[in-house]
């Protein structure tokens, strides 16, 4: 449905998107994942025909963007990062205008607008001015605008950014409903979001593709460490030395456990929070209780955390050395 070949964009000397090649099948949802400035927006703007590429080809449904821009644009619904709305129009007027410039025939325009209102759940605000709506509703208006002409391809640029968590869930559900009828390309910098919606994920950084895989495989591959949090209290009687040095003993004791990679100790009131990190596959929890009890400390809590996906992602894109590990086919670290 969408075929992109060696798509490149240069701004002066800076390469924003470097020779991107991919295909998206009908009904598939492709997620672009990457930090700001990774080239997600630029790529989408090139596919939609807003930015002329410096090189490469884009084909939608067999039509080449360069040769048949009008045909290609008819087949795309695009939601830029900020919904492109006219605040002075009502939701219905706005959607009617978009339907008109997107070549929805007059006879079907009313039905198309009604359908978009329904699918984007805009019924209750249809006669309100867009400018008066909340951010969440504006975003839905943006989605309604993208689907009003029932395009086979939907391109959504960070559809949930700048929304509060509740709105985020709602918009995400909305996109999940659109799945199937449309081929969707969406970008985000939120990992769980992409794993929830997308069939396939591209990780972009500085214009390069760093990884391509299904969300499940990616998060497996990205999991670098196991983490255990221990909460304990050291009674004065069990302390070997004075208060300030008390937690040094704790650190040394935990460091001695087999398999521990890193220990950090944070005093909270009269308790200590100890964070233990280990390699993937090593569970430290069975070792913790005997150690604590043996020293005469009081064990208050014990929990295994996995590094949050966002955290992993951040270390990933900020650390060039991780790149090798992410290349498809290369062995994972375990």
């Amino acid at each position: 449905m969408v075929s992109v070949q060696q798509l490149t964009k240069k701004f002066g000397r800076q390469v924003a998107v470097n020779s991107l090649t991919f295909e998206v099948q009908k009904g598939e949802v492709l997620g672009f994942l990457g930090p700001n400035g990774a080239g997600k927006t630029t790529t989408m703007r090139m596919i939609t025909g807003y930015l002329p590429p410096s090189g490469g080809r884009v084909k939608i449904d067999g039509f080449d963007l360069y040769d048949d821009p009008i045909e290609v644009k008819r087949r795309i619904g695009y939601l830029p990062e900020n919904p492109p709305v006219y605040p002075e129009l009502t939701v219905r007027q706005y959607l009617e205008f978009v339907a008109e410039i997107k070549d929805v025939p007059v006879s079907r325009r009313r039905a198309a607008v009604d359908r978009a209102l329904e699918r984007a759940q805009l019924g209750e605000v249809r006669d309100k001015r867009v400018g008066k709506l909340s951010k969440g509703f504006k975003q839905r208006v943006g989605l309604g605008q993208a689907i009003v002409h029932e395009p086979p391809v939907l391109i959504l640029d960070e559809p949930t950014s700048s929304l509060d968590p509740k709105q985020r869930v709602e918009v995400r559900e909305l996109i999940s409903h659109l799945k199937g009828d449309h081929t969707v390309i969406l970008s985000t910098h939120i990992l769980p979001e992409v794993s929830e919606i997308a069939d396939r994920v591209f990780i972009l950084n500085r214009g390069h593709v760093m990884a391509v895989d299904t969300p499940a495989n990616l998060s497996d591959r990205l999991r670098a460490r196991e983490m255990v949090t221990v909460q304990l209290r050291v009674p004065a009687s069990a302390a070997a030395s004075q208060s300030a040095k008390r937690w040094e003993d704790v650190r040394t004791a935990f460091n001695a456990l087999p398999g521990v990679a890193e220990v950090s100790v944070h005093p909270v009131d009269d308790m200590l929070n100890v964070r233990l990190e280990s390699a993937v596959g090593v569970d430290l929890r069975p070792e913790v209780a005997p150690l604590v009890v043996g020293r005469g400390w009081q064990l208050l809590g014990l929990a295994a955390d996995s590094l949050s996906l966002e955290q992993i992602f951040l270390t990933l894109v900020s650390d060039e050395n991780q790149e090798a590990r992410l290349k498809p086919g290369s062995p994972t670290e375990s």
Partner: protein
């Protein structure tokens, strides 16, 4: 062209909910009316004076054709008011679309940049029509007083539309260059003032430059219309400015897409 009409209709609709448009309509109607009555009162007084002279000495040195003079003065003033208000209407035409991100919507729709520019121009022209509407009763008023010169009035309105069209097209172009509506407004004021009053410097020149400078002047060509003279060269002059403005706007919209936004 269907797209252009859709865009023009949307533009007109947006004008009617924008406070600037109402301010502009009010100012324009008020100033037009005020100038009209001042001019009328002045010439009526002159003509009374002339009558009195004829009564006393049998002749008058005042050569008066009141309707023609009132119309001539009135349309001269209208052009001046237009110069003040049209940049307020054109400053946001493209600038606002860019600021709101709706330019991205338009350019990723199956709309050609030419259609977009035509739509914007037609929308602004339609609102310009709305602006002129309150001046029509003034002519009805004149006509009821027996001073009805339909040819002169129509020619003058044609001149006003041509002049407004050229100013809107150029304002549209300036607006396509600017990211900020204030800069867009002042840029348009600057350009239009120069084009309007460039002929005043022509009166000082005593050479081949006179014709050359006059050729560029809005005023010089517009005043022919207000004298009831419809000449091909004046029509072509304004049509050229409109075409140039629209063409440059289209190029500018296409061109800015190559820059980082």
């Amino acid at each position: 062209m269907r797209h252009a009409l859709a865009i023009a209709r949307r533009e007109l609709r947006s004008y009617f909910v924008s406070p600037i448009a109402y301010v502009v309509v009010t100012i324009f109607a008020f100033l037009s009316g005020a100038f009209f009555s001042n001019i009328l009162v002045y010439y009526v007084k002159q003509s009374t004076l002339a009558d009195r002279q004829i009564e006393l000495v049998g002749r008058s040195d005042l050569q008066l054709d009141v309707p023609t003079m009132v119309l001539g003065e009135f349309f001269k003033n209208e052009a001046f008011i237009l110069l003040l208000v049209l940049p307020l209407l054109t400053m946001g035409l493209i600038t606002d679309e860019r600021r709101k991100g709706t330019l991205e919507l338009l350019l990723t729709s199956p709309v050609r940049p030419g259609e977009l520019v035509a739509g914007k121009f037609l929308g602004a022209m339609a609102f310009f029509g709305v602006l002129l509407a309150p001046t029509v009763p003034l002519h009805v008023f004149l006509a009821r007083g027996g001073a009805w010169e339909p040819g002169l009035v129509l020619a003058s309105y044609a001149g006003l539309v041509a002049l407004g069209g050229a100013q809107i097209a150029l304002g549209l172009f300036i607006s396509s260059l600017c990211e900020n509506i204030l800069i867009s407004a002042f840029g348009t004021y600057g350009l239009l003032l120069i084009l309007n009053f460039v002929d005043t410097s022509a009166t000082l020149a005593r050479s081949i430059w006179v014709d050359f400078i006059n050729f560029f002047s809005f005023d010089f060509h517009y005043l022919n219309f207000t004298r009831g003279v419809l000449s091909v060269s004046d029509v072509v002059y304004f049509a050229t400015y409109i075409t140039l403005g629209l063409f440059l706007t289209q190029r500018s919209i296409e061109g800015t897409r190559f820059k980082r936004s």
